[in-house]
């Protein structure tokens, strides 16, 4: 087998994705050269890259702002989400009030509340974080509550038989048991936090990739819009895979992470 053939025939998801992406970019580039649509409609990938290279530090600075907002909002969402989930699982009252309210609120298009946060919190990073937390909190709470609840009753019985305290049952049984669900929720939440940050930047302020998109759009500078979009896409992907990596590291025991050596156990 030649090296090229080996590369094509082997098993690698990353390679497959990269190949598809490369093909799409190539088609895009060739299509633009061939049909010559107006630049304001669709710039070719080469022009997008060139635009980025004219002022890379500007783009990177705004990207850093969005990234920082997203990470802060995500961290707050995780901390708040776990606390709320535990409270909901252990308190009938909170489950009937907060949980029900949260589920009801989720159907409200929360993005529409962004302007309200600007009125309340100003045009700094706070309203952006608030919008992002509002979006990211929900998937974390839903999944963590589910994970905390779906514990084998005999696991809890085992702990109770050893006269364990409620806190021990939470720390040693319920919480580790809920970690895979928590990660599932966090993977959704990280993208939601990014969406929230961008929406916040659309609404107010002079920083971040969302702001850049808005300004470039006002100047009909489509190429610049695309630079920001590509950076956003890269950021979202990187954040998701960072979490995926953390999950692999922290949950080597979970079914989804086991290699082929792992046997499935019914009982």
């Amino acid at each position: 087998m030649t090296g090229w053939r080996k590369f094509l025939m082997g098993e690698s998801r990353t390679r497959d994705v990269l190949l598809v992406l490369a093909a799409l970019v190539a088609i895009w580039e060739l299509g633009v050269w061939h049909y010559e649509p107006p630049r304001i409609f669709l710039p070719p990938p080469s022009a997008i890259l060139a635009e980025f290279l004219t002022t890379p530090e500007l783009f990177i600075r705004h990207m850093g702002y969005t990234l920082w907002t997203t990470l802060l909002a995500f961290t707050i969402s995780v901390a708040l989400g776990i606390t709320l989930s535990v409270a909901i699982v252990y308190s009938r009252l909170l489950e009937r009030t907060i949980y029900t309210l949260l589920v009801a609120l989720n159907s409200v298009p929360k993005v529409a509340l962004a302007p309200l946060f600007v009125i309340w919190l100003g045009t700094g990073m706070e309203p952006k974080i608030a919008v992002a937390v509002m979006l990211a909190l929900f998937p974390i709470v839903i999944d963590t509550v589910l994970g905390l609840r779906s514990v084998d009753p005999d696991m809890v019985n085992l702990a109770r038989a050893a006269r364990a305290s409620q806190l021990q049952i939470l720390a040693k049984i319920r919480f580790p048991n809920a970690l895979p669900s928590l990660f599932a929720g966090m993977k959704v939440a990280i993208s939601f936090a990014l969406v929230g940050a961008i929406v916040g930047e659309f609404v107010a302020g002079g920083n971040g990739l969302g702001f850049l998109v808005l300004v470039a759009q006002g100047q009909f500078d489509t190429t610049r819009v695309f630079v920001s979009l590509v950076l956003l896409g890269l950021m979202g992907t990187a954040l998701f895979y960072a979490l995926d990596f953390a999950e692999r590291l922290m949950l080597p025991w979970h079914v989804s992470q086991r290699g082929e050596g792992g046997s499935q156990h019914g009982g």
Binding site: N157, R163, A164, Q168, K172, P176, W253, H254, V255
Partner: protein, 261 residues
Amino acid sequence: MNQGTQPYVALDRVAKVYPSPRGDVEALADIDLEIAPGSFVSVVGPSGCGKSTLMKCLAGLVPITSGTIDINGRSLEGPPGAMGIVFQRDVLLDWRTILDNVLLQAELRRLPRADYRERAMQLLARFGLEGFEDRHPWELSGGMRQRAAICRALLCDPELLLMDEPFGALDAMTRDDLNVELTRIWQGTNKTVLFITHSIVESVYLADRVVMMSRGPGRIVEVIDIDLPRPRPLSIRETPAFGAYVHQIRHHFAELGILKE
């Protein structure tokens, strides 16, 4: 067995009803049972007759509807301290290694792990799990998992050991092995054991007394003393005396319409 001593476990007219919107389930009715300290009692009965319920009531995990349960002379309020329990499924924690799963028993009781490490290793070795201490449960066979669950139950040296069909899902050979190992461990100690099974042969082989249960609602139909010498080699199961006990139990279940002869 001996009339003079106080029973370790005493159940008096115990009943258990599970309330349910589709009609209450009468799981146990009128259960009277005394278990002498240090004795090995097995409970046999058809599926759904309330064996697991009986064990969970005894363990203080499920509240009883009426009657009284005394353990070691004291009325039962919540799980007794010196109790080890093995459930129908092994309930090992997937995120812990086998050794950590066994040591969980000490952790949950707020006892220092370091003090029990050695004992955990000894127990694991005794049950043929040497070299598997650092593996995770999913890397073990069903029989090995169940052995680890037994080690976990034995870690803090319980006076009372409750076992709910621990070998129910195992093949006959592994089961024989574990039966021998279990009696060997029990004989060296003065643990009181309640062992639930649906195998008549297993119940006779292991126990000093066999408690027969029937369903609808779950009640005790007969208690049979097994007067066979110990230690019991596996071959004891081919002796006429052993066969007679098995026959007696089977016959009794047949009379009740639970088994066909």
